[in-house]
């Protein structure tokens, strides 16, 4: 935090940055004006409650800057391995950070979407006359206003990340409850909603297909058929039979990401006929390309500016929302704002794939796994989205982090009339983790083995083969994670406490009865893959600029709460020794960094930022090295000062810069992967793997079937802890989300109709439900091919937590726990 006095930079003493800087995502300039030039003349966008610009920076940092004149002893370390606080933490904690829902532009109109009340129906006619007749309504758009299909007829401009099958507006058939049919722009949000309700759509209801098992035989509900993908995995000898065989059927429900901020956005028409979208996208370039495709525009004429993201665990918005917004703006020539209601939000954004999993594990008498047979069925919902990607993860990870010589998997992802599923922390691997860990518990019971011991006997380590034939080349410290958990003391039993101080299942003052409460302990270990799989081109581009005493980072990796912007700051601080690092806001005029999902940004964007910073460093040191007569490698930069290896020669960075601007742009592209073979499932499909082990301690009221998780102890393989506090926060978030799926979160589809699309009915864990989450070990065994040797941390705890909680409930009750979320009838005795 300190700079030597010779830097002479007054800014550091007098100008602590505001809570939200000019140009940051969410600030007035960053969110709405952006490039500025292309914005329509009538529209000056600003934010409601612009008081954010005067918020002080985190006080601790201000104080340190004030007394930073006396040398190089920095009071607070900077760079990798430390835990700086997020730059926007104060504004977010105080509620002054403006999200997309807070944006405003002069003369804006309000959008609303008309949605299907049926899960499956044919559209006979759409009459939007009554809506247009309402005073204040500017435009109504339907599938007919989008790019026409190949036959010259409107087809709703289907698009998608992998398969282009999801229309913006349903053209002939609606395939899920809440699917957009038309959109309205009006001068008031209520008018817009009234008008959307006034659109008369004649439907012919069709039989909804909601049971994924029936999808194979049911008549196709889409021209592409009901099967998204079938992925077999054939590894080893199918004839092998073990001494002990256990079988199980497992079911995982539909979890919703339930972001705290519902979808909202602002579209501003551009004079060139294009549009500028201010939305909370997690994949700006992908969304921009899909939006341009649907609107029939060149991608360059659509600019997407990422406003602050109010909650995302991978995918966030559906393209239907963004395109509808853009289309209304283009059609009316006015800026259009749209904010979805909580119910709409539940209906449209991607959910976790519900799954049905049938397993048969063979083991020898010592408990070593011989063969795993599995049939996996993922319900992908009405449109393809990323189901085939989730399916590949499910199929390849079906046996878990264990050495299994013979593995036979058949995995299917199918189309149903349920809401579409997409990416959510650990897509594919979460569902199988619950199943294979449950199977290991059964095997331990059948062999009368300790549950940790059976896992240790089969644990995978570096060099072992996945069932896909891929060798695990990254660190795979599965045994070490289990050992760390085993060494951890259990939380105390509430025996000496008075009963009323014991937080029982059911909550304080609730129906819990200490006499009926049993405690259970469960273990689980699991793995997720990092980065896109199967030949996806994972690449990110970043630029670093040094000017004066400030460094800037331009990278379009969206920080969805993962802490990437903090990490980018740390990387630059580490490489360039400059403490004042500015992270530029994200828009699609810059080169792409790819989606913020699958734990990829730390790797690809972190790697790109590091490379660009190293290039700048080289430019900075090269002339100086010449001058000193030594190679640049012998110079170090710290605290704004360049010093030679022996400490004799030195020069402040500012002086070395000589008033120049240094720029560098770099890309990071990990080693390529290949698709899984469609017959055998063999192939080097994954870039890296991350592992996590968890111990859950639960209290179960066995009469009422209520469960409270007392503690989750987590041991995780992180490669290298770049920001330990942020990692702990990510682990807490992931584990809590996993706990929610294990015990309460389920979006209920009744014949395709979602019946609990509200926070009253869709139960999320509250602070009373979230247990003490203790990180007992962050194993730092560096992955040599990953930038910094670091692994993604967000998905692994979410993947393992449901299995651990289920195992603990199983231990407390002695019952088979085969369904997630665990229903009360599966818990009570």
């Amino acid at each position: 935090m300190t700079l030597p006095s010779s830097s002479g930079d007054d800014n550091n003493l007098t100008a602590p940055g505001p809570g939200v800087r000019q140009g940051d995502p969410g600030s007035a300039t960053g969110a709405a004006l952006g490039g500025g030039t292309a914005t329509a003349a009538t529209t000056t966008a600003t934010t409601v409650g612009g008081g954010t610009l005067t918020q002080p920076r985190i006080p601790a940092q201000v104080a340190e800057r004030g007394e930073g004149a006396d040398g190089t002893e920095a009071a607070e370390p900077v760079g990798l391995g430390t835990s700086p606080i997020r730059a926007d933490a104060l504004a977010k904690a105080m509620g002054t950070f403006p999200y997309a829902a807070d944006l405003w532009a002069e003369g804006l109109l309000w959008g609303a979407v008309a949605r299907s009340p049926y899960a499956h129906a044919r559209i006979l006619s759409i009459d939007y006359g009554p809506a247009l007749a309402i005073p204040g309504v500017y435009a109504v758009v339907t599938a007919a206003d989008l790019r026409l299909g190949p036959t010259g007829q409107p087809d709703g401009a289907p698009s998608g990340p992998i398969v282009q099958d999801r229309p913006v507006f349903a053209a002939d058939v609606v395939r899920h409850f809440g699917e957009p049919v038309a959109a309205v722009a009006a001068d008031h949000p209520d008018t817009a909603r009234l008008a959307a309700a006034a659109i008369t759509v004649a439907y012919e209801p069709l039989e909804p297909l909601t049971d994924p098992e029936a999808a194979f035989t049911a008549p196709p509900i889409h021209p592409d058929g009901n099967l998204f993908r079938h992925q077999p995995v054939r590894f080893g000898d199918p004839e092998v039979v073990g001494d002990v065989v256990v079988e199980g059927l497992y079911k995982v429900g539909r979890q919703d990401p339930a972001p705290i901020g519902a979808e909202a956005g602002l579209a501003v028409p551009r004079p060139d006929g294009g549009v500028e979208l201010h939305v909370a996208s997690t994949d700006p370039h992908g969304d921009r390309d899909r939006a341009a495709h649907c609107l029939g525009l060149e991608p360059d004429r659509v600019r997407l500016v990422v406003s602050g993201v109010p909650g995302a665990t991978a995918d966030r918005e559906d393209v239907g929302f963004q395109v509808a917004l853009g289309l209304l703006a283009i059609r009316t020539g006015h800026p259009v704002k749209m904010a979805l209601t909580r119910e709409e939000s539940f209906l449209t954004h991607p959910h976790r794939h519900p799954a049905l999993l049938r397993y048969r594990h063979h083991a020898d008498a010592e408990g070593r796994l011989l063969k795993v047979e599995a049939q996996l069925l993922l319900d992908g919902g009405a449109y393809a989205e990323v189901s085939s990607e989730a399916l590949a993860a499910a199929a390849a990870m079906a046996a878990g982090p264990y050495v299994v010589p013979h593995v036979f998997v058949d995995a299917w992802a199918v189309r149903t009339n349920n809401p579409p599923a997409g990416r959510m922390r650990g897509e594919g691997s979460l569902q199988t983790c619950f199943a294979y860990e449950s199977q290991l518990d059964r095997l331990a019971a059948a062999l009368d083995l300790d549950r940790l011991e059976i896992r240790r006997r089969n644990a995978m380590s570096t060099g072992d083969l996945l069932p896909t034939g891929q060798a695990v080349t990254c660190p795979a410290p599965v045994s070490e994670l289990l050992d760390a958990l085993a060494a951890e003391p259990l939380p105390p039993l509430p025996v000496d406490q008075p009963d009323d101080e014991w937080l029982l299942p059911g909550g304080p003052g609730g129906a819990g009865d200490p006499a009926a409460v049993r405690r259970g302990i469960g273990y689980a270990v699991g793995m997720v893959h990092i980065l896109g799989a199967e030949g996806a081109d994972e690449v990110s581009t970043a630029s670093v600029r040094v000017s004066g005493s400030q460094a800037s980072v331009m990278c379009t990796a969206v920080d969805t709460g993962t802490g990437f912007s903090t990490l980018a700051r740390q990387i630059v601080q580490d490489v360039l020794g400059i403490t004042d690092v500015y992270i530029a806001p994200v828009d699609t005029d810059q080169p792409p960094a790819g989606p913020s999902a699958r734990g990829r940004q730390t790797w690809v964007s972190g790697g790109a930022v590091e490379r660009a910073a190293l290039m700048v460093r080289h430019q900075l040191l090269q002339p100086l090295a010449m001058q000193f007569g030594m190679s640049p490698e012998l110079l170090t930069i710290s605290d704004g000062k360049i010093t030679s290896y022996d400490g004799v020669l030195g020069m402040p960075v500012l002086q070395a810069l000589e008033g120049k601007d240094l720029w560098a742009t770099a890309q990071c592209r990990p080693h390529p992967t290949e698709p899984l073979d469609s017959e055998t499932g063999q192939g080097d499909a994954f870039v890296g793997l991350a592992f996590c082990a968890m111990r859950a301690v639960v209290d179960v009221d066995v009469e009422l079937g209520t469960v409270r998780v007392v503690e989750l102890a987590v041991a995780q393989d992180v490669g290298r802890a770049l920001n330990p506090e942020q990692i702990e926060a990510r682990i807490e978030a992931g584990a809590t989300q996993g706990l929610g799926l294990a015990l309460m979160e389920d979006l209920v589809s009744e014949g395709g109709r979602i019946s609990n699309a509200s926070f009253t009915r869709y139960r999320l864990p509250t602070s009373l439900d979230a247990p003490a989450i203790r990180v007992v070990a962050l194993l730092e065994e560096r992955d040599v091919v990953a930038p910094f040797g670091a692994k993604a941390v967000g998905a692994a705890p979410a993947t393992v937590a449901p299995a651990a909680v289920a195992a603990a409930v199983r231990a407390a009750t002695g019952r088979q726990v085969n369904r997630l979320p665990i229903p009360a009838e599966d818990v009570a005795l």
């Binding site: 209520d190 909603r193 079988e247 199980g248 059927l249 079911k251 209601t341 909580r342 119910e343 937080l503 299942p505 059911g506 909550g507 003052g509 609730g510 129906a511 009865d513 009926a516 009469e703 009422l704 079937g705 209520t706 409270r708 015990l743 309460m744 009253t760 009915r761 139960r763 864990p765 509250t766 602070s767 009373l768 439900d769 019952r815 088979q816 726990v817 085969n818 369904r819 229903p823 009360a824 009838e825 599966d826 009570a828």
Partner: protein, 290 residues
């Protein structure tokens, strides 16, 4: 419109019958914000101080309809009407309890409304005030629609008997934090009449009273002694209450016909609900007689 007295509010409602009265607004404003309800006008009841307090009146307590859940959860209230206080404390997160009112809970008549089974068990009455003056209606008559609110009427007061005996409210939910009840049971002892009164909430559109079970269990209690009860009798009471309040699960073949504990479906859920109500009733009785 923000009337300052009940009379003003009644007059205001008579003047604009399409206006919707709003007290805490925890349900109503949610519906308005979601676009489900578009009232022509609102009559805010929050300024009517006479409705925000409570007082004694001939052995009963007269509660203003504007009492918030937070107020009802306080110890002075809990000392006199413990079950109502319990229900108010469990009704939701603090923000909701600070705004939501007793009257709103009754008028909204959500099946899972937490105070409703308590009022049913206490045999509370409500005072409905209209242009022609007030009238007293038993709360159960109001909820079942036997004697519904008429146009132009406002819910003014709730009269609750003070029984000076243990009362219990128990609620089963799907999570540890505040949540909608899956089922709830309110149980009050009335030593004066040597009666146990019980109501089950959230399992039907209105709170249900298992009258036969109440009568039976009243006879099992030694009212003059230490009011103890045989645990077996308490368990039987639970079963009795559950059988009276939750319909017989539809027979769906063999109970465990599905493999691997995959039993499910409506039959299992109904059986589970019965068991939950039975456990709640048993525990409630046990706590009341402790």
């Amino acid at each position: 419109m923000l009337p300052a007295s009940l009379d003003e509010a009644v007059t205001a409602l008579a003047a604009s019958p399409a206006a919707v009265p709003v007290a805490g607004g925890t349900d109503l404003m949610g519906a308005v914000n979601a676009g489900l309800l578009r009232p022509m006008a609102l009559i805010g009841l929050g300024r009517i101080n006479e409705l925000r307090g409570w007082q004694y009146q001939d052995g009963t307590a007269q509660l203003g309809a504007g009492l918030t859940h937070a107020r009802m959860g306080r110890p002075d209230f809990a000392a006199l009407m413990p079950a109502l206080a319990e229900a108010a404390r469990s009704a939701g997160p603090p923000q909701v309890r600070n705004a939501g009112t007793l009257g709103g809970n009754i008028v909204t008549a959500d099946p899972a409304g937490d105070t409703l089974p308590v009022l049913a068990a206490l045999e509370a009455t409500v005072t409905l005030v209209g242009p022609e003056g007030g009238r007293e209606v038993p709360v159960s008559h109001l909820l079942t629609g036997l004697d519904p609110m008429r146009g132009g009427e406002l819910l003014g007061y709730v009269r609750v008997p003070l029984l000076h005996a243990p009362q219990v409210f128990l609620k089963a939910t799907g999570r540890t934090g505040p949540s909608r009840a899956v089922a709830s049971v309110a149980l009050v002892l009335d030593p004066g009449r040597r009666a146990v009164r019980c109501a089950v909430g959230a399992v039907a559109p209105v709170p249900l009273r298992p009258l036969e079970a109440e009568q039976w269990v009243s006879g099992c209690i030694d009212w003059d002694g230490d009011r103890a009860i045989d645990p077996a009798a308490a368990a039987a009471f639970g079963e009795y209450v559950a059988a009276a309040c939750v319909p017989e699960p539809q027979p769906a073949g063999l109970p465990d016909s599905q493999p691997d504990g995959m039993e499910g479906g409506p039959a299992a859920a109904a059986a589970r609900l019965r068991r939950t109500v039975s456990v709640l009733a048993r525990r409630a009785l046990g706590r009341a007689l402790k």
